[in-house]
Symmetry: C2
Subunit: 257 residues, 2 copies
DNA sequence: GACCCGATGCTGGCCGGACCAGTATCCCTT
DNA sequence: AAGGGATACTGGTCCGGCCAGCATCGGGTC
């Protein structure tokens, strides 16, 4: 007979698992309310400290939220892509992944998102993308350019494309890794001497990409997306990092850059 | 003047943030030890219950681990891709993403991983991949086929390719989404009538993919990877799901399947 | 001298009770 | 009918305590 290693299972973990289970099976759905802590300590027959520990990890994993004083009790949350962002950020900061890997991953995700967006090119999605493009152009033509604001809008533009891809996993991973990358690039834009030129070029690139998506140019959209992003970050890369990324975004040369 | 919304920050959250900060800045590195709970409650001047809640969320996010009785205190963990798996699994179960999206995402990730693996084709990585291929073939030729074991080894084969890609983000996302998908496909393989045929075909496909990676056939490796995976799951998809995925894995027809 | 073994002082796990600052509700006042 | 408090809750935090398990070290045995 074969034994299985014993699994230490703390009391609070059992509570977490039971509630996670409830969410997984659909028994608990987003918006549902859990009993208050005092009630839970009775149903699980544990102390309040234990149910609180369970609530803390459920809150940390984005499953529930609670407010003091709310007699309806903790609420079950809908899934949010933000829960992916934390782990991905950690991965970069804790040497789980280098900047080159991060950027490479983003090229893959956002390139694919652009491709899928070009396949679908649904009207509602295109409107969203165009709105984002107009927002970028408007800001680029302004007298004084706020780097942080431009970064936010550029982020929103990519966000719109990912949404148009129709794949929420791409959407979540893209925004997560995008958030991690902007943390690296933000300072660059702030200290940029020729800020106007760079901003204008980014806005133009965005418009060109949007056009490719609109016309259903799948391959072109993918190439434009990857090369746009690569060019945006190229200056802050070391030679080694560039060498690692060139093969992936063969797009760069294809567009004559 | 513009006000910023107040942010309720609980005591335990401050502890979590401080320790997360320490890990982010490199002040705390994997393997380092934190003071025991009784010491922490003094340095943060909070009660033990509060530091315990903080430790629970740090544990839930995979940052630290602790064992009762260990006088060295909680240990800081290295990053592990597994922390991504939880959120991704939740995403599928909580209608954050459909099966089709999940599979599409995997086609992108594992396709790209195969492509990158073919670019590098480092000898050490190839050895790992070949070992996995041999493991599959050996199992496919066995008298009695254990479906669970075959699933595990197939998983290991893809794992080896992702590792060979040199991108730990692809590796992490791939294994996470792979884990989520096998949960769906495992039962299928167990009830499969013509199990032997399917297993043999999968083993052969894996060998062909490995060969393309070895010879540096980048495009071929990517096509083989995506079409292998797609074919593996095709039977459990609905017509709608197939229609959504066909455009992405144009690979299927290219290989004459 | 080498080895075994138990006492001891630590660790985290869990409990019960308590107090506080908020919030929602209901009932009473105007 | 509208306003405004008392009230009964909520979660947030603290305290002090007990327990089981791990490490270490010292005292014993062979």
């Amino acid at each position: 007979m074969d034994f299985t290693p014993v699994r230490r299972v703390n009391a609070y973990e059992q509570i977490v698992e039971q509630i996670e289970q409830g969410v997984a099976t659909g028994e608990l759905r987003a918006g549902d309310r859990l009993p208050g802590e005092r009630r839970l300590m009775e149903t699980f027959s544990v102390s309040r400290a234990t149910v609180r520990e369970a609530m803390r990890v459920l809150h940390a994993t984005g499953l529930v939220d609670s407010r003091p004083g709310d007699p309806r009790g903790p609420v079950v949350l809908p899934f949010s892509p933000e829960v992916l962002e934390g782990p991905l950020l950690r991965m970069t900061r804790q040497e789980g992944a280098s900047r080159a890997e991060l950027l490479q991953f983003r090229l893959v995700v956002d390139g694919q998102a652009a491709l899928l967006a070009a396949i679908h090119h649904r009207e509602a999605d295109l409107d969203q993308i165009d709105a984002a493009v107009r927002g970028l152009a408007e800001l680029a033509d302004a007298e004084e350019i706020d780097p942080a604001e431009f970064g936010t809008r550029l982020q929103g533009f990519h966000e719109a494309i990912r949404r148009a891809s129709g794949n929420r996993l791409l959407e979540a991973c893209g925004s997560a890794v995008g958030g991690a990358l902007t943390e690296l690039a933000q300072r660059r834009l702030e200290t940029e001497v020729n800020r106007g030129l760079r901003v204008h070029r980014s806005a133009d690139d965005a418009a060109a990409l949007a056009e490719r998506i609109r016309t259903g140019d799948t391959a072109g959209a993918q190439l434009a997306a990857t090369s746009n992003i690569y060019r945006y970050y190229r200056d802050i890369l070391t030679d080694d990092e560039r060498a690692a990324l060139e093969p992936m975004s063969g797009a760069v040369s294809d567009l004559g850059l």
